[in-house]
Each structure stands twice: as C-alpha cells, then as structure tokens.
C-alpha cells in the first residue's frame, strides 16, 4: 500500500516558457510545448491545452522539465488558451502533483478551409459485379466529409462514409455487372470537423482533386460455333458446294449481361439460298442474313481453309469471337461442250397422243416419228459436260433461259424455257442434254422466220439434304432460220428452209465466277412465252 502525502508544488514547479507552438492546418491541430522547472525530479509530467473552442488533448511528457500537449482547434477565431503543466512523483513516502500554475497564451493561428487530398485508395481498381469497402487515404478530410464517386456508365453505386477520420474514409461501393472498362472518378468534399466547415462561420466546403480508378469489366466468355449441333470451333470441317450449312453460336453469358451485337464473318462466296418458285416460274438468289447468332449459307465455289468467325459483344462492351475453317469441295476444271447441227430442216410430225400432226421448221434433223410419241433424229444442239473433278456425290442440273425467240407474231419474253430444271443429268438420264426448237408451218403461211437466242447453264447439286444447285458455267447459243413456200403449203415438200448465218454456240463456254451477277446463278422472273 502506498502512503504518501500530497504536497503543493505551486511554489516549486514553475512554467517559464511556452514555446514551439506548432500549427498543423491540415489536421487542425495545435501543438504546444511547455517548459517547466521543478525542484525535484519527477516520473510523469504533462500538460493540458485548453482552448475556448473546446477541443483539447493531453499528451504526456517524459522529461523533468517539459511536456508537450496537442489540441484540436475547431474555431478560426483568435482566442486565448491556457496551458496547465503538471508533474508528479510517486514514491513510497510522498506524492505530489499539479503545478497549480495556469499560463495563458494567445492563440492567433487561423484555420483555413482545408482542401482535402486523396493520396491513394484500396483497392486501386474496381471489379465489375463486386461489392466492397473502398478505403480512401489522404488528408484534410475532416470528420464529416462527403464522397462523390462517378462513372460514365452509371454502373457504380455507393453510400456515404461508414467511417471518416481526417486521414481515412471508408465507403461501401457496389459495381454492377454491366460496368464497362472505364475510369471511376472519386473526390472528397470536406465539411470540417463538425459538418459545417472548418471555419467558425462555416466557411466553404472544398473538394479534393479527383483521382481515377479503373474498372475491370467482366470479360466476354469465349463463344462456340455449332454446326449440325456439334461444337466445331477451331476444328476444320468439310462440306460440298451448295450444301446447306447452318451455323449457330453458343455462349454462356454471365448473369446480368446480354449480347448486344453479334455477327458472322465468312470467307468465300456464298448465298443465303436459291429459291425456285414452281408456280410463277421465277428464280432468285437470297442474300444470307448473318447478323444474328444463327445463319444459313450455301457456298457457291470450292475453297480450302475458308474461315468462319462468329463474334459478339455484350452490354458492357466486352467482345469475344470463335473461329473455325471449312474445306468446301465441288466440281472444278471442267467444261460443257456444245455439239450443234449445221442448219434448219423441214419435218412432218406424225400425230401422237393429243399432239396434232403438222409441218415444222426444225433446228436439227429430228422429228416426232411415231405413236406412242417418240422423237428420233439428230438434235439441233446437244450439250455434254466433261473434265470436272470433284463431282462425285452430286448431279448436273441444266437450266435453259431463252433470251429472244421471235417468229411470226411471237416476240417472246425472256425467261425460263419450259420449266426448272431443263434436265438433270444423273442416273436418270444420260450425260447429254439436247434442244431442237421447232415451229409449226401452217398451210396459210408463206414465209416464216425464227430467230432464237438462249443460254444453257450447267449447275451441280450435291446429294446432301437441302442442298441447292450451284453454277458451273454457261453457253449462249442460237440460230436464225427461214422457211418459205409459194403454193400448196400443206405439203412439206413445197417448203424450203435455210439458216441465216451459222447456228450453234455464240462464243465459248463461260465459267461461272463470283464476280458475275448473282454470283453466277441464273435467275429469271417468268417463263418465256409469246408476248
């Protein structure tokens, strides 16, 4: 048990100097050093700073003759404070404390409106789709700061500080999953230590320079290219020209994110379809729609390593892509050879079925020769394909378009000759396709001239399901012939026929190319009939 007597030290200890008034404006602290003289040594000493604006602090000194005290000052007004020095010694026999001296001093330091400053933050970058506490480190924050966090997309939400010391603010922050890659701007506005500014009259709030914090967006997951339901991303595939190739894509989007744009980049020449209208006799080439995550195309020409790329972007502007390659096979290197007849002939067609008999001017040496109906003779022109490689697994399809066909009062519309296809060369028919235009000569006719110009297209169609024919090339051909008769024109023997010019092919076989209209596909909008 310590028994001591308390001795007044007022007479022994005396403050004789107040010095080193140190004013830290950024933290609104006033540090006062006090020097005192006491007759005995003491173990503990200290000083109190008392300021009228109320803030105070104590700091223990550690010497025999001085102590230091720190006070927060919340008033800008000039004021007089005082320092109270104390010292104590504790022994078994005596205790003494309190100098009982009060030294007053004038405090003339003025508080400024502090400008806060952000030194750093933790974390130093934001992750989209996360919630966390943002620690803001710096100075001049006061204790009632306002924090402002802004980003261009408005993806960041926050509330006001959970805690606020002059050098650190903690703010709850949430970053939406859709946040793009962007910079977040953070500022701190100080409002002093009591929320009304640093100055006694409030002063002005001041805002720190902003700092920028990057957002790390959620990356777009790698998509997959599906073909026939299988993931073919990065795995080369093989198809034939004209084969229906339906792509779609697959991707697992993070929660809260959607694809805002997507599309395909496909090498090679391709179309979206080749549509034959069997009722109205038209053929059109469709342009593929390749802007969605699904597209159907038909390659028109063979090619190796044709790249197919699907790419998309999410609503956080993050994008990704998938790529694969296709090897497209098909006929190449061949031709279609025409074999023309040299001129016009006159033929009597025997009746067959409901087909009436009659006299005809024929290109070729050919006629309806029997009942049941049969055609015998040499056709006007025949076409045969040869030399193609890569044509297995498909068939040749011929399309005959009449460009002009004028005879008597008939001036035909250009269009398809009869029907599509003109003929298919596969196991059904032989490799040859023919035509022998013939026109009736009435007994009342005296001179009939026919001018005919047409184009025979050869196409190739894969046996694959839902395939379309693709063009290989075409040959234009034609003839002009005149039949005349002076009398008894019901008799074929009274007619004569001559060719005007050389009938047969005009020019050579033209290979189809991607640069041709409709990528080389034959198109038409009607059947060729007399106007």
């Amino acid at each position: 048990m310590i028994i001591c007597s308390v001795l007044p030290l007022a007479a022994q200890c005396g403050i004789y100097a107040i010095e080193d008034e140190y004013w830290d404006n950024s933290n609104a602290t006033l540090t006062v050093s006090v020097t005192a003289q006491c007759p005995q040594s003491f173990t503990y000493a200290g000083a109190h700073v008392r300021m009228p604006s109320g803030a105070q602090d104590d700091e223990t000194g550690n010497g025999t003759q001085f102590a230091q005290a720190v006070a927060h000052v919340s008033s800008a007004a000039a004021e007089t404070g005082y320092v109270h020095f104390w010292a104590e010694e504790e022994t078994e026999l005596q205790c003494w404390e309190n100098s009982q001296e009060w030294f007053y001093f004038d405090h003339w330091h003025r508080l400024n409106d502090l400008t806060p400053n952000i030194a750093t933050t933790a974390p130093t970058s934001f992750s989209a789709g996360s919630s966390f506490t943002l620690h803001i480190y710096g100075s001049g924050f006061g204790t009632h700061a306002l924090v402002t966090i802004s980003d261009p997309s408005g993806s960041v939400s926050y509330s006001q500080p959970l805690s606020n010391s002059p050098g650190q603010i903690d703010v709850p922050v949430a970053v939406a999953a859709v946040a793009p890659a962007e910079s977040v701007t953070v500022t701190v506005t100080s409002r002093g230590f009591d929320g009304s500014g640093f100055l006694s009259n409030g002063g002005n709030s001041s805002t720190s320079p902003s700092i920028n914090i990057p957002i790390s967006p959620i990356p777009a997951p790698a998509p997959r290219i599906l073909f026939g339901g299988n993931d073919v991303t990065g795995r080369p595939q093989s198809v034939a020209v004209g084969e229906q190739v339906a792509f779609n894509s697959s991707k697992d989007l993070p929660s809260g994110l959607v694809a805002t744009s997507e599309g395909w980049t496909i090498q090679g020449t391709f179309v979206g379809g080749y549509v034959i209208d069997p009722i109205y006799d038209s053929a059109t080439v469709l342009v593929p729609t390749v802007t969605s995550n699904f597209t159907t195309i038909y390659w028109v020409y063979p090619g190796q390593n044709l790249q197919v790329q699907y790419s998309y972007c999410m609503n956080n502007n993050q994008c990704n892509q998938a790529t694969t390659t296709f090897n497209v096979s098909g006929p190449s290197g061949g031709t279609m050879t025409p074999t023309p007849y040299s001129g016009m002939t006159l033929k009597y067609f025997v009746p067959c079925h409901g087909n009436p008999s009659g006299n005809y001017m024929v290109y070729g040496d050919i006629a309806v020769s029997g009942s049941p109906c049969k055609v015998t003779g040499t056709p006007g022109i025949s076409f045969i394909t040869s030399g193609y490689s890569g044509d297995s697994g498909g068939k040749y399809v011929f399309v005959h378009l009449i460009n002009t066909d004028n005879y008597k009062a008939c001036n035909s519309y250009p269009g398809i000759d009869g029907r599509y296809p003109y003929q298919v060369n596969d196991d059904v028919f032989g490799p040859r396709v023919t035509d022998s235009p013939s026109n009736l000569l009435l007994s009342t006719d005296r001179s009939v001239t026919r001018s005919f110009n047409a184009t025979m297209y050869v196409m190739w169609q894969s046996n694959a399901l839902n395939s379309i024919p693709v063009p290989l090339g075409y040959q234009t051909w034609g003839f002009s012939g005149t039949a005349t008769c002076t009398s008894s024109c019901d008799l074929i023997s009274n007619w004569t026929a001559t060719a005007n010019g050389i009938p047969g092919p005009f020019g050579g076989f033209v290979q189809s190319t991607p640069q041709q209209n409709f990528s080389g596909f034959p198109t038409w909008s009607s059947q060729s009939v007399c106007r």
């Binding site: 079925h353 050919i366 309806v368 029997g370 109906c373 049969k374 009869g418 029907r419 028919f429």
Partner: protein, 154 residues
C-alpha cells in the same frame, strides 16, 4: 381436213384404249402420279407435278415436245365439275423437241403448267388426269395417272 379427221379418230381410239386401260391394268412398265394444289384463287396459274416412274427392267423413251411449259407427249383430260372437257387455249406454234431415256427404276419429275393449256379461270372444281404410253411398250398401253381435283375458289 383429212388430217383433222384422222387426229380425231386417233384421239377417240386412244380414249377408248384409256378406258380399257383403266378397267384392267395389266403389268405396266411405268406409273404416273400427279400432285398439285387442291385449291387456288382465280387467275392463279395451276401447275402440277408429274412423276413418271419406270417400273420395268429396261430403259424407256420419255421424249417430249415442250410447248411453253407443257409436255405435249402426255394426254391431258381436264374436266369441269359437270364432267365436261374444259376448253383449251390456242397452243403456241413453237416448242422444243427433247430426247430422253429413263433408266430402270428411276423417276422423271416434271412440272407442268396445266392452266397454260386449259381455261381454268372460272370458279369451280376441275379434275385433272394424265395419260401416256411409251414406244417400248408393244401393247401401246396408255397408263393413267391418279385424278387430281383442283378447286378454283370464287
């Protein structure tokens, strides 16, 4: 005139043959099936699809004289709902002869614009049936297709 009478006689004889063929169908070398719309609006072209299948073990000649989309080597029997033959339009005077052979077991498929030949623009029901024979059939048997009924709506 003689030729016209000759044609008429042949046609009458052929239809008699056709009726006989319908009554008793011996083993045919081929079959004919037709398909098409069962209902069309007035003025809509009527196009049928003909499938001629070679059911024999030899090649058949299936030549044609195409006249504006019509294979004239078929016989067309088109009747209105009263059973009367539908009037024909004037056939174009020009066409193209084509020689074709159909291999055993294969099928020839053709689209035929039937309304180019027959006046089917009035509302009502029309029945369509096709007949054909081939040179390889020594019996000259005309094979009949199924009947297709097309309704032209009012």
């Amino acid at each position: 005139m003689k030729k016209v009478i000759s044609s008429l006689l042949i046609t009458v004889a052929l239809f008699a043959t056709l009726k006989q063929a319908e009554a008793s169908q011996p083993q045919a070398m081929f079959t004919i099936a037709i398909d098409g719309p069962t209902q069309v609006a007035p003025g809509t072209p009527v196009k049928i699809v003909v499938r001629l299948k070679n059911t024999s073990d030899r090649e058949l000649s299936v030549d044609t004289f195409y006249v504006e989309g019509l294979d004239t080597f078929f016989i067309y029997d088109v009747r209105d709902q009263a059973g009367k033959p539908v009037p024909k339009r004037k056939r174009a005077e020009a066409g193209g002869l084509r020689t074709r052979t159909l291999k055993a077991g294969e099928t020839l498929e053709e689209g035929i614009l039937i309304s180019r030949e027959f006046q089917m623009n009035q509302p009502g029901q029309y029945s369509i049936q096709l007949f054909r024979s081939v040179p390889e059939d020594a019996s000259n048997q005309a094979i009949a297709s199924n009947k297709l009924v097309v309704t032209v709506t009012p």
